[in-house]
Amino acid sequence: MKRKVKFDYARWIFVLPALLVVGILLVYPIFSSLYYSMTTKHLIKASYDFIGLENYKAVLSDSNFYKAFLTSILWTVGSLLGQLFIGFTAALAINRVKIGKGIYRTLMIIPWAFPSIVIALSWKWILNGVSGFLPNILVQLGISSELPQFLSDSSLVFLTLIFINVWFGAPMIMVNVLSALQTIPQDQYEAAQIDGASKFQQFWHITVPHIKVVVGLLVVLRTIWVFNNFDIIYLLTGGGPANATTTVPVYAYNMGWGTKLLGRSSAVTVLLLAFLLLVCLVYFTIIGKWEKEDK
């Protein structure tokens, strides 16, 4: 009996440190942010007051917040569609070709390893409006009459950011879809071929059902990541020109570290989290249904 109690104790030892990390570094800050979102907490001033929902009122009546929110949605949807399309088609193409699989995969995975600051600096330099490689090439080839300002022209900047985010995120989709594709038993395709199924039918009835759950999960992870992403936009454009690329995280950062209103900035981030929770709830309901269908 005594021995059994000791055993129970031992198994908790294994998970305790991780639980502590999650509790102290993730759960506590959430509540702390919730609390500060209802105060006048300032980045530098020490004293602050409890003001209830005033910060939320202020944020929700700021037209810039709605603009940032809309930008965030467009940035997430645009990036995600691009990443999925490129990642998916690249995985299918690699899965199909017989030579060079490994080389293509290795070359295409490179953007994934890039730190956000190097993503920003390398693309800023490639797209530089004076000496940049791409603008100069476009002029030399006669495609553009003057040097395009990819990062400061308000009609180009958003598409440029999405392109860069697709460049960075597509490899992750590609690698995961590819590994899911490789788990599909080949004899299913052979059987389908004998039954006279077309390539498209094979794709729709064998490939899609097999990788649906993995792709669904990837979409959840990427949505969260892109929606929360601060670095890429902050480092490439800082939210400009004229707030054209300010997403919610950049808006929250400027609120907290620019205007130094940490309390109000907390309110923005809490709203951000609430929205993400809602989106993920919808996603997981769908994926849960798919998983049940599989069984």
């Binding site: 031992a10 198994r11 030892i13 294994f14 998970v15 440190p17 991780a18 639980l19 990390v21 570094l25 993730l26 800050p29 942010s33 500060y36 088609t89 193409a93 690699i94 199909r96 060079g100 080389i103 293509y104 070359l107 295409m108 995975i109 490179i110 953007p111 390893a113 890039f114 730190p115 956000s116 600051i117 190097v118 600096l121 390398s122 330099w125 490639i126 000496s131 940049g132 030399q140 490899p171 590994s179 993995v214 999960l217 959840v220 992870l221 929360n228 601060f230 480092l235 995280p249 929250a252 907290g256 940490l262 900035s265 907390s266 981030t269 809490v270 951000l272 989290l273 993400l276 929770l277």
Partner: protein
């Protein structure tokens, strides 16, 4: 006829893949090429692809005059400490979840997804306040603690997938031979999952090495800066020296890319396996 169609299809696939590979690969090549060009050549018109005169002056300038070596050592210390702590904590937790809490396991993996949802910018606010209270602003210790917030959940998630592959039979045999839980874990299970642990450790290292936001918020003295914030501060100087920035970028990105090459085969399964099943 079908054979010919097949061939054309394959050809098109190759064309598509070559285009994508070039786009994926190009920024790295361009950073490396520009890092060895002289500043005059960088802004020369028309833009030359290959450097006319190979020079290492950008690298020596960045490392010696701008103190980038110090930033590299800061980042190394922080990333290695984060990785070591995260891997010990996470492999224990992953094993515990797989072996002792099979029912709780699925809940825990949902909790991990939930933590992934927490916006870093939301966490940054309490972190900056708590670290200020504890006197950890501008210290490496502070950053290591904060980095555990994203590295531990992610590592647990990846490792659960790897630990699941260990057959229970092996452990039971060891248990019969009188080994306790910890001994079984250290002597029997860990060696079996070592390749997975190494891959997870490398991934954790890369993420800590690449991190930007927390280090921007918690570090503001130049000598304590990590590489990414130091690189960002180069951008803030009045005259932009792209040669310096490309050389410094090369120093930061090349280790990440090389490490990534080693783990590219392990990384795919690890990310989705841990959660899906």
């Amino acid at each position: 006829m079908t054979n010919q169609k097949e061939k054309i299809g394959n050809g098109l696939c190759h064309v598509y893949l070559i285009i994508l590979s070039v786009i994926a690969f190009f920024p790295l090549v361009w950073v490396l090429l520009c890092s060895v060009k002289s500043s005059g050549e960088l802004t020369a018109n028309p833009t030359r692809f290959l450097p006319k005169h190979f020079t290492l002056e950008n690298f020596t300038h960045v490392i010696q005059d701008l103190g980038f070596a110090g930033n590299i050592s800061n980042s190394l210390i922080i990333a290695i400490s984060t990785t070591c702590i995260a891997i010990v904590v996470s492999s224990m937790a992953a094993y515990g979840i797989v072996r002792f809490f099979p029912k709780l396991g699925s809940i825990m993996s949902k909790v991990l997804v939930a933590t992934y949802m927490f916006p870093p910018i939301l966490l940054a606010i309490p972190y900056s306040m708590v670290m200020a209270k504890l006197g950890f602003v501008n210290t490496r210790v502070g950053l290591v603690i904060v980095y555990l917030s994203f590295s531990v959940p992610y590592a647990v998630w990846m490792l659960v997938g790897f630990f699941k592959t260990v057959p229970l039979g092996i452990e039971e045999a060891a248990r019969v031979d009188g080994a306790n839980k910890l001994q079984t874990f250290v002597r029997i299970v860990l060696p079996l999952v070592m390749p997975g642990i190494v891959a997870t450790a490398i991934y954790t290292f890369i993420n800590a090495w690449n991190e930007f936001l927390y280090s921007l918020i918690l570090i503001n003295s130049t000598d304590k800066m990590t590489v990414s914030v130091a690189l960002k501060s180069l951008q803030g100087s009045e005259i932009l020296n792209w040669g310096d920035m490309m050389a410094a970028s090369a120093l930061v990105v090349v280790p990440s890319v090389i490490f990534f090459m080693f783990i590219q085969n392990k990384i795919a399964g690890g990310m989705t396996d841990g959660a899906v099943k």
